[in-house]
């Protein structure tokens, strides 16, 4: 099942790129997501809001993608996700020092997706908002 991504640029208090994920994020498309974010970063995006309202499913590879997205948005090239777990930990070291990722935020995660993020502890990496409006208002 293909995932659709929609990208919009919103002028909130700061320019925010909103990327809406529609469908299922799994092993078949997670690398594409990282590529897309890499392109956005190259094009100048510095605040990324991932709108997960229509994300019906996230697999473990999707979690890997979220880690990689954080890495890209920190201006660092993520490693090959098959092998580069070490780099992911550098991201989590930021968590250890209390540095939640501000340049990638999440909104609208449906209960099934929120549950996976919470269960695996990845929710602690992100600021999460109930919906797009409240997220944009927070910038």
């Amino acid at each position: 099942m293909a995932m659709l991504t929609r990208v919009e640029r919103i002028e909130a208090a700061v320019p925010v790129t909103v990327m809406a994920l529609d469908g299922e994020l799994d092993a078949s498309n997670y690398l594409q997501l990282v590529d897309d974010v890499r392109q956005l970063y190259a094009d100048g995006t510095r605040n990324l809001l991932l709108d997960l309202s229509d994300l019906s499913f996230i697999a473990s590879s999707g979690l890997v993608a979220l880690f990689s997205v954080v890495k890209v948005m920190n201006g660092e090239e993520p490693p090959d996700p098959e092998y580069g777990w070490g780099a992911f930990r550098e991201v989590s070291r930021g968590v250890e020092t209390g540095a939640v990722q501000r340049n990638v935020q999440l909104c609208g995660a449906p209960p099934s997706v929120a549950e996976v993020l919470q269960r695996t502890g990845l929710d602690r990496l992100f600021v999460s908002h109930p919906d797009r409006e409240s997220a944009l208002a927070s910038y």
Binding site: M1, D26, A27, F57, A59, S60, S61, L63, V64, F67, D80, P81, E82, Y83, G84, W85, G86, F88, R89, S92, R93, V95, E96, R119, T120, G121, L122, R124
Partner: protein
């Protein structure tokens, strides 16, 4: 190109990919692969100083020496590394064997590559089944059952039921899922399994065990693993089960007295991602007639031809419909339910189900 009878050449690039999980620039552990002449084909990083302990295993195909795999570094743990090196060596031998067969049988480059990959995957699947599917121990008063079906593309599920070397010989229970696919995930699985096994015997409890494993993965070995894991220690005399959960699906308790099936909640983040887990033990009293069902997301994420997922609801319904069944029948019911649901769709992920039942009437 090697001549007849000479050592088959290893594909250095492919081996480097296999060694990559051991890399991450660690000066505490280095794994290298040598060919039959002792020349280094690939290495996971810089060699530690020569005073470091090392472990090596010959690589043989049909009895002929084709090379050697060597692990060196202060992080080598005599109890843990042999299993990891063995798994790595077997994979490398399979690669060498597949390459040799392909080279002998067909000069065409394309079919050579595809037959090597096919052989690799087929052998990998057999190997993985062997690693994962150990026979459950006999534990008086309990029945234990499991089902494990690896996906076509090798995944990283594993589980284990074993008696711990501690007073009272409690039952150790482990189920885990390495994120990712392919031979890398399978190798990481082969590495993590004995680490968790040993930790569960040595630690004060399951949470302490997972904390130790996480510390090894994150800080010590610099092997980079990303694993959800559930570890438990069951006092078989009293039925008291202590569980710790690192990002895994909560197990389901099916009470023998007809009470509602409930997930055993509580836990922390997955292994390998954060420096500290901060998980605690959760206690579950298994009464006679109670069943505990553990599973991986391959069960709930299994898809039918219409693209729907099996999901928790169907899992709970299947368990509800098999109330009073033995652990074995409970596992069979879920397995059959998933297979019937998927129909002709190939499983995209490993499917693992484990059940622990305390015998007796509620």
């Amino acid at each position: 190109m090697t001549g007849v009878g000479a050592a088959p050449a290893f594909d250095a690039e492919r081996i480097r990919a296999i060694l990559a999980p051991f890399a991450a620039g660690s000066e505490r552990l280095c794994v290298r692969v040598e060919d039959a002449r002792g020349d280094v084909v690939a290495t996971s990083g810089d060699m530690p100083r020569s005073a470091s302990p090392s472990l090596s295993r010959e690589l043989r195909v049909d009895g002929a020496l084709v090379g050697r795999v060597v692990a060196t570094g202060p992080a080598i743990d005599e109890r843990l590394m042999p299993a990891a090196i063995e798994a790595l060596a077997v994979s490398l031998e399979q690669l060498a064997d597949a390459d040799r067969r392909a080279a002998m049988s067909d000069r065409d480059a394309v079919s050579r590559a595809s037959s090597a990959i096919a052989a690799e995957l087929a052998l990998g699947r057999v190997q993985q089944r062997t690693i994962v599917s150990l026979i459950a121990p006999d534990v008086g008063g309990y029945d234990l059952a499991s089902h494990y079906e690896p996906a076509r593309e090798i995944g990283g599920d594993f589980f284990e039921l074993f008696r711990l070397r501690r007073r009272g010989h409690p039952l150790g229970i482990v189920i885990a899922d390495v994120a990712g696919k392919g031979i890398g995930a399978a190798l990481l699985m082969a590495f993590a399994r004995p680490v968790i096994h040993t930790a569960l015997s040595a630690a004060s409890g399951p949470a302490d065990a997972l904390e130790r494993v996480n510390r090894i993965l994150v800080g010590e070995l610099h092997t980079t693993l990303f694993i959800t894991a559930l570890a438990g220690r069951l006092d078989v005399r009293t039925g008291l089960l202590r569980l710790a959960n690192a990002g895994h699906e909560p197990p389901l308790l099916v009470p023998g007295d007809g009470g509602a099936i409930r997930p055993v909640e509580g836990g922390g983040p997955l292994l390998g991602a954060f420096p500290e887990l901060g998980v605690g033990d959760v206690e579950v009293q298994l009464e006679p007639g109670d069943r505990l069902v553990l599973y991986t997301d391959g069960v709930t994420d299994a898809r039918n031809p219409a693209g729907e997922r099996f999901g928790k609801k169907r899992l709970l319904d299947a368990l509800e419909g098999a109330r009073g069944a033995t652990a074995h029948d409970l596992v069979a019911t879920v397995r059959d339910g998933v297979e019937a649901f998927c129909g002709t769709t190939d499983p995209a992920d490993d499917v693992t189900i484990v059940a622990v039942g305390r015998q007796g009437a509620a």
